[in-house]
Symmetry: C2
Subunit: 455 residues, 2 copies
C-alpha cells in the first residue's frame, strides 16, 4: 500500500523534509509525497530578499534553491496556489483550497508535515494598508518591493523596525539611491543586541547614510487621496516618504494547527519535541511555523531562519520515514551585514540572561581581525556574557568590519558546550597573522572575562 506524506507549505522547512523523505524512499509507489503551497515559489531563501531588492542579486530565481518543477522531477508533487485551510486529524485529511478558483477538496495523509511559515507583524495602525506599505517575508513580498523600487523610483523610504530584515532592507534601499529613514520604537537599533552593542550598529547605520530615529514609535501612516502612503507618523514627527517597509518581525503561522487541536505554544508556533514531532501522532513540523527550544534559556522560542528550517526539515524527512534523528534546539545565533559592518550574536544577551534567571556579568573588548601589523587588520568588538558564579559563557555579541561576524561560530560552539571563559581561553583555534592576532579576539574576550574573576 502507498504511504501518503503531505506537506503543508512549500517553504524551506517543508520542502527539505519532502526531499529528504524522497531520498530515503525513492519508490513513489511506496511513498507518495504531495506539497501544497499557497504562493508561487518553493524552497527559496527569504534571507536573500534584501540583496534582490538592493540589486546585488539580479534574478529572483537565483534565490530559489529548487522550483516546483524541479521538485516534481524528483518525485515530489508540488501544487502551488493551493492553500491548506483545515486539518482533520480523525479522518487524516487536509482540506485544500485551489487559489486559482478551483474550489476546495480533501486530501488524505498518513504523515503530515506542517510548514506553514510565519507572517510579518502588521500592527493595526491607521493607514497601514495603504499602497506603498510592504511587509517582507515571502519571496512574493520581495518581488513586490523590488518592483516598487524599479518602477516607482521612490525618493524617500521609511523602514519601520530595526531587526535584521529591517536593517538589511535599509541598506538595500540606500544602495538603490533612496533616502532611507529607519524608525525604531526602542532607544537602540537591533533590539536583539544589548544596548551598548546596538549603539555600535547605530553608528554603522549612520555611517552608511541611514537616517536613524530610535525611541520613536510609529503611530500611523499619512495617506494621500489616491490611497498611497506619503508619510510615516511617529510620536515626534512625520517622515515624508513614498515607500514603507515593515520590518517588525514575524509570528509563526499556527492557526491551522491550533484549529485542528495540534499544540501551539506561547510563541504562536507549533510545539515540537526533539524529533520535530507535534503533539499529534504522525504530524511533524519544520521551518518558521515551529516553536523550538532555546538550549541556554531553557525556554520555548520561535526563530524564523532558513538554516533552522533546513535542519528541521531534514530531521522530519528522516523521522517521517521511520528513521531516527533529532533537532537539538537553538541558541539564537544570528549574523548580519550592514554595509561595511558585520554584526553577530549567539546565546543570551545581558538582558536575556537576567530574564532567564542567570546572575551574569559582561565583558567587552576591542581587538583586530588580523595581526595588527598585517595589512587589512580591521577593528572588532566582542562582548561576552558570562555566568558570575561558574564563569560559564552564556552568550556573545560581535560588531566589526570584514572578518568579524563568523567568529560567532566558535563562540556558539562554546555556548553550546557550556564552556567557561577559562576553558575557552584554552581552545585551540587557528592562528596566523592574515587571520588573527596571536590571541584571537574571541579568546581576548574570554581572557578578560576570566581575569575579571567570573567563575
Amino acid at each position: 500500500m502507498t504511504e501518503r506524506l503531505v506537506v503543508v507549505g512549500g517553504d524551506a522547512g517543508g520542502m527539505s523534509a519532502a526531499a529528504r523523505a524522497r531520498r530515503r524512499v525513492p519508490d513513489t509507489a511506496a511513498l507518495e509525497i504531495v506539497a501544497f503551497e499557497r504562493g508561487s515559489f518553493t524552497s527559496y531563501s527569504a534571507c536573500g530578499i534584501p540583496y534582490f531588492v538592493g540589486d546585488m542579486v539580479h534574478d529572483v530565481h537565483d534565490l530559489v534553491a529548487r522550483s516546483p518543477e524541479e521538485h516534481r522531477q524528483r518525485g515530489i508533487d508540488v501544487r502551488i496556489h493551493h492553500e491548506v485551510v483545515e486539518v482533520d486529524l480523525d479522518r487524516r485529511t487536509v482540506r485544500v483550497r485551489d487559489l486559482d478558483g478551483g474550489g476546495e477538496e480533501d486530501h488524505g495523509f498518513d504523515q503530515l508535515v506542517l510548514a506553514t511559515g510565519a507572517s510579518p507583524l502588521r500592527p493595526r495602525l491607521e493607514g497601514i494598508d495603504a499602497a506603498g506599505v510592504y511587509g517582507v517575508q515571502t519571496l512574493a513580498d520581495g518581488v513586490a518591493v523590488r518592483r516598487a523600487v524599479d518602477d516607482d523610483k521612490p525618493t524617500r523610504a521609511v523602514v519601520v523596525g530595526s531587526g535584521y530584515v529591517g536593517l538589511e532592507l535599509a541598506e538595500a534601499l540606500v544602495m538603490r539611491g533612496v533616502h532611507v529613514s529607519l524608525v525604531e520604537r526602542l532607544p537602540q537599533p537591533m533590539p536583539t543586541l544589548d544596548p551598548d552593542v546596538g549603539e555600535l550598529v547605530g553608528d554603522a547605520l549612520r555611517t552608511a547614510g541611514v537616517h536613524l530615529h530610535t525611541g520613536e514609535a510609529v503611530t500611523g501612516f499619512d495617506v494621500s487621496g489616491d490611497g498611497r502612503v506619503r508619510g510615516v507618523v511617529t510620536g515626534a514627527r512625520t517622515l515624508p516618504c513614498d515607500l514603507v517597509v515593515l520590518g517588525l518581525g514575524v509570528r509563526p503561522n499556527g492557526t491551522v494547527a491550533a484549529a485542528a487541536g495540534i499544540g501551539v505554544g506561547e510563541t504562536g508556533g507549533v510545539k515540537t519535541d526533539a524529533a520535530m514531532a507535534s503533539t499529534a501522532a504522525g504530524v511533524w513540523a519544520a521551518g518558521d511555523c515551529v516553536e523550538t527550544w532555546h538550549r541556554v534559556s531553557q525556554r520555548p522560542v520561535a526563530i524564523a531562519l532558513g538554516t533552522h528550517a533546513n535542519k528541521q526539515g531534514r530531521v522530519v524527512g528522516i523521522n517521517a520515514t521511520g528513521g531516527d534523528a533529532t533537532f537539538p534546539g537553538v541558541i539564537g545565533t544570528a549574523v548580519s551585514k550592514i554595509c561595511a559592518y558585520e554584526v553577530a550574536r549567539t546565546g543570551l544577551t545581558e538582558a536575556e540572561a537576567a530574564a532567564a534567571g542567570f546572575d551574569a556579568v559582561a565583558t567587552t573588548i576591542t581587538a583586530t581581525t588580523r595581526a595588527g601589523y598585517y595589512p587589512g587588520a580591521e577593528e572588532i568588538t566582542v562582548k561576552l556574557v558570562v555566568e558570575q558564579r561558574s564563569g560559564r559563557v552564556l552568550g556573545g555579541q560581535i560588531v566589526g568590519r570584514e572578518g568579524a561576524a563568523k567568529r560567532i561560530d566558535v563562540l556558539a560552539a562554546a555556548v553550546w558546550h557550556e564552556m567557561t571563559a577559562e576553558e575557552l581561553i584554552g581552545l585551540d583555534v587557528g592562528y596566523a597573522p592574515p587571520f588573527s592576532p596571536l590571541w584571537d579576539p574571541v579568546l581576548v574576550a574570554a581572557r578578560r572575562a576570566a581575569d575579571e574573576g567570573a567563575g
Copy 2:
C-alpha cells in the same frame, strides 16, 4: 624576602609568563623577574617573518609586541645577548653567558621558566653552511633573509620543505619578484595535510607562480668558489639559485633542560603537565621548547606556534606566582594563507588517525563561502575525518579562497568536544547570505559524513 623568578629565553612563551607574573605581583620587592635572551629581540611574532620578508610589513619592529626596554619599564629585567648555558637544580642557579664578551656568572632563582624556543632543522648536507642558505626561526633570521633580498636582489630562490613556513616564504619571495622553486621530499606539498588536500595546495602554489618539485629530496648544495650557494641538488636535478631558505620544521631546544636532569620527551621538548610544570619542582616551561599533549591522538607533541606559547606563558605566570591555571593541550589547529588561497587543519588527518589507532573514514565536500547567489561567493573544500564506529569528528581540513580558513575554528571546537558528525549538523552556527550558504560548508561536510553512515 624577595622571590626570584628567572626566565630562560625571551620568546613569546617566556615573556608572557613574566608579564603575567608581574601583573599578579606588581611589587618588585616581593618578586624579582629576570629574563635572559641570547638574541636581541623579545616577545616577537615569528609567524610574521614571511610578511616582513615579503614587504607586506615594512618595519621589523612591527613584529615585536614588546621590546626589552618596554618589558623593563614594566618591571621585568630583560637581559639580551645573555644565554643560559646551564641550570643547577640543587643550587637553584643558572649559569649565564654574556654573549657580548662579559664572561659567565651564576644567577639564583626560586622559580624557573624554561622558554628556550626551538631551532630549525638543518640536515648535515654538503654545502648547507654556505653563504646564502638561511634557516628561518628567529627574528634575526628573518632580518637576515630580508636583507639578502633587499641588498643582493636574488633572481632565483629555492625553498626547501613545504610546511607552513616554507610555503609562506615561497609566497613572500614570489611577491618580491624572485623566481621561486619549492622542493619537498614527499609526493605532496604541506605534509601536515592528507595527500588529496595537499594536492589542492599544490594547485594553489602553481597558480601563485611557485615552481613545485615534490618527491625530490635535497642531497646537497652546489657552492661557488667564494663560498656562496649557487644551486640546490636533488635526486632529480640541480636547481640553480642565489638564495636558499630552509623550511624543514623545527625541533624544541631541550638541551639545557636535559643536561640539568629535567625531563625531555621523545619530541625533544621539555615535558610538561597540565600546569605547564616540568618534571623538576619550581621549574616551568612555555613556548616552542615545550612538549605538550594532543587531545585526540593522546600522544605527546611539540608544536611551535605563537598562540600556544602565549597561552602557556599565561598559565606559567599564574602558577609560578601561586595561582591555579591549566593548559589543556592542543589538537593541532593551524591556518595559513598562500596568495589567494587559505588552508587550515585541526585534529587528526586520515594518516594521523590511523597511526593513533582510530578506525576512521573521510568525507570531502566542496561548497561556497557565501550563499551561491551572493557576490563574492568563493569555492571551499572541507574534509572531515570521522571515527567509523561512533561518528566522532576526529579532524578537519579546509582549502579555499577568502573566508575559508577560519571556519576551522568551529571544527576545532567540534573536535575538542568530541562531537559526532550528526551532532555537528545541529550546531547553531551563524547564517546570512553574505557569510554562508543555508548550510554552512562545515555542516555540509558533517551532513555528508552522517549520511554516509559513520556512527
